[in-house]
Symmetry: D2
Subunit: 314 residues, 4 copies
């Protein structure tokens, strides 16, 4: 049995030592330490790892960390929303997002052409530059073929980028597919629509891409899910593992609670009733802000996996 241990600061303490201590503090710290262990187990046991995150996390500085995890092969399959992929492209093209506060005069921001995501700020200009970047890309892809499953579409875009910190770039380079079940739910929706107006035979084939995610793993393979935040990203990944016999490992990190019955707040336990994760799986649900907790838990896992030589390009 584990016991509560008094935490004490030692000068120069490393993140990995800190996460070790969390296992004996209590409440969500225990959950976070568990999550870190599940990360290690899914990699050590060669599970196919699904990493899902929401758009706002790509707005944040987690974007480069996600790219790094893809590079290190700590993620085999990405599921996310289109807004994040748009911002990944913006950043790859040099756009900068600034840091403000949660309490601001939003009318004033609007007048200045600044769009707020919590305490982060995106300029209208970044969206305009995105538009300029995306049109030639659509033309090139259309020349190649007319009917694009979503993940293949984003893979091609990734190959056209040149930024080590880009999710799309690293995913394309490392053969990690990116699934995005609602590709029109962002600026992309508008640009694709305008393009299709001129090229009516241009098609995004979402059905075909469901086949792609379904066949990205199988019943025999061990499967792990790292779901950051909620939304369709989380749901789509666990739907895929459900159809492939359930995941052996699952970590959910979110600020949502189970009490509203939402997907965002659904726990790893609830997932068992569906067979989304296996009855005897290793699971952890951690409640809190992903920007603080996810790197903590993952760093600890990376340090251990690095020791064991289990990280690619690491």
């Amino acid at each position: 049995m584990a016991y509560v241990k008094d935490f004490k600061w030692k000068k120069g303490i490393k993140v990995s030592e800190y996460v070790d201590s969390l296992a004996n503090i209590g409440f969500q710290s225990v959950q976070l330490a568990n999550a870190s262990n599940v990360f290690v187990k899914m990699k050590k046991n060669s599970a196919k790892i699904f990493l899902t995150f929401t758009s706002n996390m790509v707005t944040s500085g987690l974007r480069g960390f996600f790219a790094q995890l893809i590079q290190l092969k700590m993620a085999d399959i990405i599921v996310t929303t289109v807004g994040g992929l748009e911002e990944d492209i913006m950043k790859a093209k040099g756009e900068k997002f600034s840091i403000g506060t949660f309490n601001t005069d939003d009318v004033e921001l609007h007048e200045k052409g600044i769009n707020r995501v919590g305490n982060l700020m995106i300029n209208n200009e970044s969206y305009m530059n995105f538009e300029d970047a995306i049109l030639p890309i659509l033309n090139k892809l259309y020349e190649k073929k007319k009917r694009w499953p979503v993940s293949e579409f984003f893979r091609e875009i990734g190959l056209m980028l040149d930024d080590e910190d880009s999710i799309l770039y690293q995913a394309a380079k490392n053969d990690v597919p990116i699934f995005c079940p609602a590709i029109t739910d962002g600026a992309f929706g508008f640009h694709l629509y305008m393009f299709q107006q001129k090229h009516p035979d241009f098609i995004i084939d979402v059905i075909k891409d469901f086949g792609n995610i379904l066949l990205s793993t199988n019943q025999d393979e061990k499967k792990g899910i790292i779901a950051l935040g909620g939304s369709i990203s989380k749901h789509h990944a666990i739907l895929c593992t459900l159809l492939n016999g359930g995941a052996e490992y699952a970590v959910y990190m979110t600020t949502a609670h189970k009490t509203s019955g939402s997907m965002s707040g659904a726990t790893t336990n609830e997932a068992k009733s569906w067979g989304k994760v296996k009855d005897e799986s290793d699971i952890a649900t951690v409640i809190g802000d992903v920007t603080i907790m996810f790197p903590l838990a993952m760093i600890k896992a990376l340090e251990e996996l690095k020791e064991d030589g289990l990280l690619k390009n690491g």
Copy 2:
């Protein structure tokens, strides 16, 4: 200036009287009373009303209320996720969902073939019956045409149902389009995929459907948003109003908080920075469980609108 007033129970108090009182209690009760007023204003001023909700709300008994709101023309455009539409079909076909508790033995549920959504339960059988119902529908639609925008696809399904309490049925009957930006993120994804395997020219055209939502309103029309919960449903509706000059009215009801920077927790104020709602718009953000709060606020509005003869079929 409004003042706090002591609430007192009177025997036989009506919901509308209760919501009136809430305006002078405090905290979220004030927000809820505001929301009710914004509902009235958007209807009185003939705004095009976007109603968005998440799948779990259709799992719940709100489903029939949504259908009723469509019938009364309190909603002109629906945006939701595919899971809810699947469950709407199941219920229209006679499936029953049972009520349990949030704390259960999920492994035991799994063995019994019961899937849990918070404290609600869906049998595996309901999914099997759904499969049986959906295949002939796909065949019929395929005979009509090969390439379906999502909202047209669901309209056809609605026309095949026969249930006054069905969202799809009432929407089809009352010419209210249902947009669903991630149609493959559910059982539908699997069935569509299997169908396309046999009929490779069968296409769901998500790009075309973006045009449909974009053109469902315009810059000149007044626009109102009622966003229940978060997710892409909420985001997709406000993206559409953003591209049409911003909404004049907006009510967000959610359990999510703005502090994580998520779309689910994004407030009506944050929306102003983007131009998603207009600077001088009537807005209310209410924090709490939609199953309790939304009917409360809407009932009060319906009673007032009924008096004024502003409800269709009412």
Copy 3:
């Protein structure tokens, strides 16, 4: 087994009908309907009812409702914090609190002498008038005796007030004791301190008052807890029931979640491990804003209890 039922609006719907419907909607609506039933049961079975609330609820318009519940004998014992009792006195003396918004310029408010509690506002003047009111009261009490258990102290104050909507007034009039385990944690702390400087033999006897709450019930009596919000009010009541063999009925309503291990978020289930509530007790935990949910659940119970002639003065 209970099933999900589609909710439908009927013109003129009463609160009691609405709460009936909630039992078949889902998520927190089911919890709220359960809570309402537990209220009925605790009264029908003649349980000694502990009602606890936090200070901000007295800032709100719930204050008059609490007074009414005391008058109706739906509460036999009150536990609360001192801030609320101060505001009850202010309101009894005619002070008005105004309604503002959660997002304000707090520096500007400070300059205007306005103190903010969420979206409610208290003027500095109200605190000054409170001071003027409280000093003669302290003098009178000191003349009676020098050593005051907290609940006896507040009972005397209640007898000096003249406001049907006052918690202190109704409690004194109906022999309902008010326990307040941290009497110095508010403006009272300062005024009592200044008074004791002049009268060093003036004592507030908190130990004696622990005896008073302990003996306010016993092992044989049935006990019910209605804990609104968290804090020491909730803890103190359940500590008392724990020492008296555990409660048979318990309803917790709060916005706090169990995931942080806090008392505010502790559930009625957790209470079983302590014996705070009995193993076989009737319990409900409802998550959400008390200003909306508590009157809803209680109104439904009052209507039923009124029918059965179980309300005093009702």
Copy 4:
């Protein structure tokens, strides 16, 4: 202006480097990095530092960290609830608390004599041993004097303990007063009551102790507040700074949100309207689990303060 920066893992990363990175990630990570800076500023500017925490944090392994902070003089005044002080004594006497899960069979735990606090477990035995320990202490204190202000009472107990990791021990040894505005709200309440039954002249003087906290600082001194969680601990400390002209520095860390109008969720901004913190103060509100976030933010501050020789005994 600060910009979002991509976070990248480097092997062997230290906690202080990690917290530096958080300043450029986004959402609560930015708040946490701010909080860390405010900790540094309050110490560098010789503010009188109030540290407040709730009982469950002492149940957790933060207890030893709080003791260490007292020893290092990062806290000049402690405000907390009595349950935590009881558990500090239990731990000082050798009791061990174990780690379990949030989802357990609470009836089974009750039968085993195990009391649950979130995912932490306290045996009934620990409470019995506490009783055995406390009675001789009460006798000794009673021999010294009959009338005890709370903080003096706990100081004496601290002097009788012998555990470097004890909050009471370090506080007594380092002349840091511990204020506890509701001393009877725990097992202490019962033991003090039983003791007073035998010794009616035994008095806990809470009014006198209000004077002690009021005079623990003054208008001229700079003041800082570190409020972990909510409850009367937080309120009592800010009440004291309010009466002394307002704090120059304030960090609130909590899982509660401002939307319910509760003290637990009240922000550092709201505090400005009251004058609890000064208009131009350095403030940060961080939302999330204290067991993970507080050590993170504080470790970074300690490392910097250590470099500058500003930590006592460090």
